[in-house]
Structures are given as C-alpha cells and as structure tokens.
C-alpha cells in the first residue's frame, strides 16, 4: 500500500543537487538511511541511465529512478524528492526537479503503488503543489489522500 511505502521520512523537499547523478544519490538517501536498499543499488540506478539513456524521465520534469529488482533491494520502497534547482538528464522531458527513487523486491507486487503515484502525478495541480511544497507532512497527506 502506498501509505506504508511512502511515509513522510521518505520525502525530502527543496534539496540541492548539482547534476543528475547527484540528484539520484540524494533521492536515494532516505531509502539507504532506512535500510531499504544496499548502497550498490544507487550505482545500479545511475548505471541504468548511463547504459540505456535517460528513459527514466518519463514525463516533463519528473524522473523515476530505479534499477534491476533483486537482492540489492531489501524491501520494496519509494522516496520522493524535490529539487531547488532542476537538473538535466539530457532528456526531451528536461529539466527535472522531481525525482522518485524506487526499488522493487520482486517483479510485480507493487503495481498498485505505481498506479497511485501515476494517478497523482498526472494531475498538474498535484505536480505544482509538489514543486511549491515546504512541508513533508502536507505532501504525504496529499499523496495518500489521492
């Protein structure tokens, strides 16, 4: 359930990142600090973009960082980070100022979580809200209320 995966300690707002790799690092920190992923998973997420290109920037301004499911992910997890200054992924959907970092333990038990996030992000008012938000609890309530 989204409520379990995306608690408000998985949300960080108005973070500074100097480039896309730094942005993925910063977005992954909540997952690492709360022991949801191994540190190697962060490299995995970055290598994905280096090998396959910035396909993770799946809509204007928003990147869905993720790597291969497997034992670098301890439990299915998701974080959401907004940036003070957007970064470039060399994608047509640049610049990016919202990063969601995502880890799946298994291949497909998290469909409902992704669906909830997708439904949330498809509404421009929600995306604008995220961009301007300063309070994690407000963001969390808005996400789960959706």
């Amino acid at each position: 359930m989204l409520e379990d995966i995306l608690s408000n300690n998985m949300i960080e707002l108005n973070i500074k990142a100097c480039d896309w790799e730094d942005a993925i690092h910063k977005a992954s920190l909540p997952l690492l600090l709360h022991n949801k992923i191994e540190v190697g998973y962060i490299d995995n997420m970055i290598d994905t973009v280096k090998e396959l290109g910035p396909y993770i920037v799946i809509m204007p301004g928003i990147a869905f960082a993720h790597g291969r499911p497997g034992n670098l992910v301890k439990e299915t997890c998701m974080s959401l980070v907004t940036l003070t200054e957007p970064v470039l992924f060399n994608s047509d959907n640049d610049p990016v100022d919202i990063i969601i970092a995502f880890g799946a333990k298994d291949s497909d038990k998290h469909l409902d979580i992704l669906e909830r996030i997708a439904m949330f992000l498809v509404e421009k008012s929600n995306v604008n809200f995220l961009r301007n938000a300063c309070n994690k609890e407000d963001v969390y309530q808005r996400l789960i209320g959706n």
């Binding site: 396959l52 290109g53 799946i58 809509m59």
Partner: protein
C-alpha cells in the same frame, strides 16, 4: 473490432516505467473502446515477444527497431493517454 491486437510497453527493467506506460495505454484504449492485449517487458525480454505494436521511450526505440518487426512508437510522456492515441491511432486502426 481489434482481432488479437497485442501491444507491448517496454522500458529498461520492466518493473516501473513500463508498468506505468502499460496503464496509460490500457486507459487510452478503453477510452476509445478498443480491445487489445497489453503487456509490458524490459529491453532484454521485449524483443523476443511476438506482438503488433511496441510503445517505448525515444532512448530505447532504436534498439527495438533493430530487433523487432513490430511497429515501434516513441512516447515522451508515459502518463499521456493523448500522446499514446495521437501517435498510435493510425497503426492501431490497421488492426481493427
């Protein structure tokens, strides 16, 4: 009606972004009352799947074009039903 139309959404690992694209495709088809099988896969298993149309990102399209005879359609915004219909409509109708 679409007889046996099979559509594939492809991304890097098949656990995240292709699921989202698959959902968008399913919603787009439903809005036009088109029936089709929609599945998702990653870039390694996708090419071996027999299907009619593939939706994917610009970055992954060239690799898929090399390996598959299906129509490959590039989508920029994986949340946009409008883009899926805009770019896919003509080809989808070939199968209807």
């Amino acid at each position: 009606m679409a007889k046996g139309l099979k559509i594939l959404a492809v991304c890097g690992f098949g656990i995240g972004t292709s699921l989202i694209l698959r959902m968008t495709i399913e919603k787009a088809l439903k809005s036009k009352d088109i029936k089709a099988e929609v599945i998702n896969a990653d870039i390694t298993t996708g090419p071996s799947i027999d299907c009619n149309i593939v939706f994917t990102s610009k970055e992954l399209a060239p690799l898929l074009r090399e390996k598959m005879s299906a129509h490959i359609i590039e989508i920029n915004n994986f949340m946009s039903k409008e883009e899926v219909l805009d770019k896919g409509w003509d080809i989808i109708n070939e199968y209807c």
